[in-house]
């Protein structure tokens, strides 16, 4: 039936089953040539991280594709400027490849900065720029001097590593902004939120929790991000790093150069959101903060629990597959699913490391399959074998799940509802419940239960 779903022999070390023994999950490798990898490139990593900085100009230096595929695809909300949602590129042509694209880039930047007066500009290098040897740094320097704004090169040539290297290049570009703003008015209980991208307004939700307990949020990097906030974010006393994969590098740089400690946190699920609030209150060793944090958590939990319990009765014992970019999100999702009574039967990430997979192994129940850098064939195979009811992933996984007749929740760029925070947990549970219990699966030949049609008819008649 699904005999065409085989595993690549060399992939076997990147797959493990909880409770089955065996060595560590082999990860962090470049994908095998010829595989249907779900991974992207360095440029993609940089672009997704920096994109939400709303009052900056983002210019893709390369042929049109890289600009076209990253144009307004990320639901990162801005409370003000919308400039970042436009697509600006140099659209390099054959002659530029031969003679170089520096002059074109310089003209482009001058024109755009004159028209839009951005607070800063990010210039993304693509594969081809790395090959033809444009001195993007020199162009940035000249334009920056002429226009009086930071013009930052992002060294994101697609082939120079993995998506993770793109995160790092993005962090380096952001880091060059930091330290140039005035920190005088920043209070003692102050934090930066790193690695939340305000997808569906999540940064707004989370920021509000912290402000309610009395913590000042200096900069949100990069969700609903502003250049001036980032310039002064070195005045904050603590960094909370949410998407650890993308932003730990920046947090470390801030620790090394500005002495700001950081904590890795997650805002997904009740437990993790509460832990993040308590952690911040603990850090500032202030009883009032802690008291307010307790109030918020207990108030919010009391508010959402009745509804979660109602959904839980229908979700109890159902099985889920998770395939996401970073491991930290995977941890949160395993816990959040448990809150809903669901078991994680398959969990994988694009960029997890050895320790992450050890952590997953400890968290998950025996029998759970763990994979690194997976592909659609593997994912389909395990979903069918494990008989999962729900898949949590991104744009490329959604249609695969649906083709198998499995419910789906987008936990990536295309989620339309905030999934972070307590309100987000409610949204998450609503989406999971709606998709898992959707009547559409009754019409899928593989999953159709005998008499399901009659049941539906009776249901309708009643």
């Amino acid at each position: 039936m699904n005999s065409d779903l085989n595993l690549l022999p060399s992939r076997s070390t990147s797959i493990t089953e909880v409770g089955a023994g065996g060595g560590a999950v082999v990860c962090g490798k470049v994908s095998l040539a010829g595989s249907v990898s779900q991974r992207a490139c360095v440029f993609c990593g940089s672009r997704v991280v920096l994109y939400p900085i709303a009052d900056a100009l983002h210019v893709v230096h390369g042929p049109i594709g890289c600009a076209a595929y990253t144009w307004d695809i990320r639901g990162a909300r801005s409370s003000g400027p919308q400039l970042f949602r436009n697509s600006f590129s140099t659209d390099l042509q054959e002659l530029d490849v031969v003679y170089g694209g520096e002059a074109k880039l310089e003209r482009t930047l001058n024109k755009l900065i004159d028209r839009h007066h951005p607070k800063a500009a990010f210039i993304y290098s693509t594969c081809i720029v790395g090959l033809i040897g444009d001195d993007v740094g020199a162009v940035c320097k000249r334009v920056s001097a002429a226009k009086g704004i930071p013009v930052l090169q992002v060294q994101s040539e697609g082939f120079k590593g993995t998506k993770k290297d793109g995160y790092k290049a993005a962090c380096e570009a952001v880091f060059r902004l930091i330290g140039t703003g005035d920190t005088a008015s920043i209070g003692p209980h102050s934090i930066n939120l790193l690695g939340d991208f305000n997808i569906a307004g999540e940064t707004w939700l989370v920021r509000e929790y912290f402000e309610r307990i009395g913590v000042e949020v200096v900069a949100t990097i990069t969700g609903d991000g502003r250049v001036d906030d980032i310039r002064r974010c070195h005045g904050a006393k603590l960094n909370l790093v949410q998407c650890a994969g993308s932003m730990t590098h920046l947090a470390k740089r801030l620790q090394d150069d500005h002495g700001i400690p950081f904590k890795k946190v997650s805002f997904f699920g009740i437990e993790d959101m509460a832990a993040a609030l308590y952690g911040a209150a603990e850090f500032f060793a202030d009883a009032v903060l802690m008291e307010r944090a307790r109030e918020i958590v207990s108030g919010e939990v009391a508010r959402i629990m009745p509804q979660l319990r109602a959904w839980r009765t229908e979700l109890e014992g159902r099985k889920a597959a998770i395939y996401v970019g970073g491991a930290f999100k995977a941890f949160s999702l395993v816990r959040a699913l448990r809150t809903l009574g669901m078991r994680t039967a398959l969990v994988g990430t694009q960029t997890g490391d050895k320790d992450d997979y050890e952590m997953l192994r400890e968290m998950c129940d025996p029998g759970t399959i763990i994979v690194d850098d997976s592909n659609p064939i593997e994912l389909a195979k395990f979903c069918l074998e494990q008989e999962v009811d729900l898949f949590i992933g991104g744009v490329k996984e959604r249609p695969i799940a649906y083709k198998l007749g499995i419910g789906f929740c987008d936990h990536n760029h295309e989620r339309k509802e905030a999934l972070a925070g307590f309100e987000g947990m409610l949204n998450f549970a609503r989406e999971v419940h709606a998709s898992v219990t959707s009547p559409v699966w009754n019409y899928v030949p593989r999953r159709a239960r005998p008499k399901s049609r009659e049941t539906t008819r009776e249901g309708n008649a009643a």
Binding site: L32, A33, G65, A68, C127, I128, G158, K160, Y402
Partner: protein
């Protein structure tokens, strides 16, 4: 988002804002998916393949399979021979396709990888099993557009696969162009209704619009088989739809296998569909059946019922060149005024043909190849229009200018109908009329004052 759009239009040579095109490889990947049992292969870094798959998935809402050579810095210095060889070995071992269709990327083009030589060596080394095929197309991202990539991969099918055996088969080739699976399905339906055997390539119907069965099929039922594409060399004739996407492949088949070709435009609207039906009829030596006459009659009936709503309406159109050329003719059949027509793809043939169509009827029409949506928006700010027709990206302009909007072309990322309803043929034209009329009247109903709000229209 578009509050930075100004009315002063400055000549831009270095800067692309809000493009109306994307790069060649995605077109090649889409074309390759129209071969049955084919694994498209992207010879470049992982990102390209990932972006193309995601983008196609957003448009078709279907899984899109493709492999990548996963270039690293090493490959970029020493060339991609080792990566492609290893990739071919892995693909055939594990995914077991009938055929692999390799397309290049800017990276491998600049490095200068010689794909035919790499394929030959891979075969000598036993990486390609007997009976399995590998074809390729050069698709540099810094030349042309996604439409060119589609055309190049379609031409590669002819170059690599089509053969003339000397026995003429009673079949007509159709090269459909960069259109939806629903359009390809419609072409097959029309041909079947006429009783004509066709070979269509590429054919993405039943590949990217497949049913939900609960089973995962890496190679869905649809697609032109290698045997069919091979046999195209023995067909009576080829009907190629669209100068940019299809004519090169048809011309190649004409010179390679001496199969005569009709170089048509996309069959959008009455006359263009008439020409398509007539070409098929003529080559196959059949009569146009009553069922097709009936469809045509019903379309014309609909046009007559509604023509007062379309008359004189000023329309701005952006899309792929073949689509814009064909749609413009349909708009003229409805007595609309296509006053601004752009394509993001470069190519002088577009402007030449559009001037032929518009100079006598809409002399002031603005026509531009290699343009972008920012410029179209600037034009609209200077001279407002009644209707905007573009792919999904036009929604920002439609919102900013509060203008009725119809989504048409590639990609459509935010609506569903394109996956089910064709826009080509007589039936497709009725769908376009429906969409345009609804957009115009919905807008009027929402914006007119109470005393002009009509129940009956």
């Amino acid at each position: 988002m578009l509050n930075g759009t100004t009315t002063e239009i400055a000549e831009r040579k270095a800067l692309r804002i809000n493009p109306a095109k994307t790069c060649q490889p995605i077109g090649a990947m889409y074309a390759a998916l129209g071969i049955h049992g084919c694994m498209p292969h992207s010879h470049g870094s992982q990102g390209c393949c990932s972006y193309h798959r995601s983008h196609l998935t957003r448009h078709f809402k279907e899984p899109v399979m493709a492999t990548t050579s996963s270039f690293t810095e090493g490959a970029s210095v020493f060339g991609g021979l080792a990566n492609l060889t290893q990739a071919l070995r892995n693909i055939f071992t594990i995914y077991d396709p009938e055929i692999v269709a390799v397309h290049t990327t800017c990276l491998s083009e600049v490095i200068g990888d010689d794909i035919p030589t790499i394929i030959r060596k891979a075969r000598e080394e036993g990486c390609i099993p007997d009976g399995k095929l590998v074809i390729h197309a050069n698709t540099p991202s810094f030349v042309g557009s996604h439409v060119y990539g589609f055309a190049n991969m379609t031409t590669a099918m002819v170059n690599y696969l089509s053969e003339k055996t000397g026995t003429v088969l009673n079949q007509v080739n159709v090269i459909p162009g960069f259109v939806e699976p629903a359009d390809m399905r419609e072409i097959k339906r029309i041909a079947a209704a006429m009783g004509v055997e066709i070979v269509m390539f590429p054919d993405t119907s039943n590949v990217l619009d497949g049913p939900l069965t609960g089973q995962y099929k890496m190679y869905p039922e649809g697609g032109a088989t290698v045997a069919q594409i091979k046999s195209a060399g023995d067909s009576i004739a080829t009907v190629a739809l669209g100068h940019f996407a299809s004519h090169v492949a048809a011309a190649t088949l004409e010179s390679k296998c001496k199969v005569p070709a009709a170089f048509l435009e996309l069959p959008i609207g009455v006359s263009a569909t008439d020409r398509f039906v007539d070409a098929i009829r003529g080559y196959a030596g059949v009569e146009v059946p009553a069922a097709i006459e009936l469809e045509r009659g019903r379309l014309v009936d609909l046009m007559s019922d509604l023509h007062q709503y379309f008359h004189g309406k000023r329309v701005a159109v952006s899309g792929d060149p073949d689509q814009v050329i064909a749609l413009t003719q349909f708009l003229l059949e409805l007595e609309m005024k296509p006053v601004m027509c752009i394509t993001g793809s470069p190519g002088n043939a577009f402007e030449k043909r559009m001037h032929e169509l518009l100079d006598s009827v809409v002399p002031a029409a603005k026509i531009k190849q290699n343009a972008d949506l920012f410029e179209l928006h600037q034009w609209m700010k200077n001279e407002p229009v009644d209707l905007l027709i573009t792919n999904t990206y036009g929604k920002h302009i439609a919102r900013a200018e509060n203008v009725p909007f119809v989504r048409f072309g590639f990609p459509i990322l935010d609506r569903a109908g394109h996956r089910y309803y064709p826009t080509i043929g007589y039936a497709g034209a009725t769908r376009l009329i429906d969409q345009m009329l609804n957009a115009l009247l919905d807008h009027r109903d929402r914006t007119c004052s109470e005393e002009w709000f009509e129940l009956v229209q």
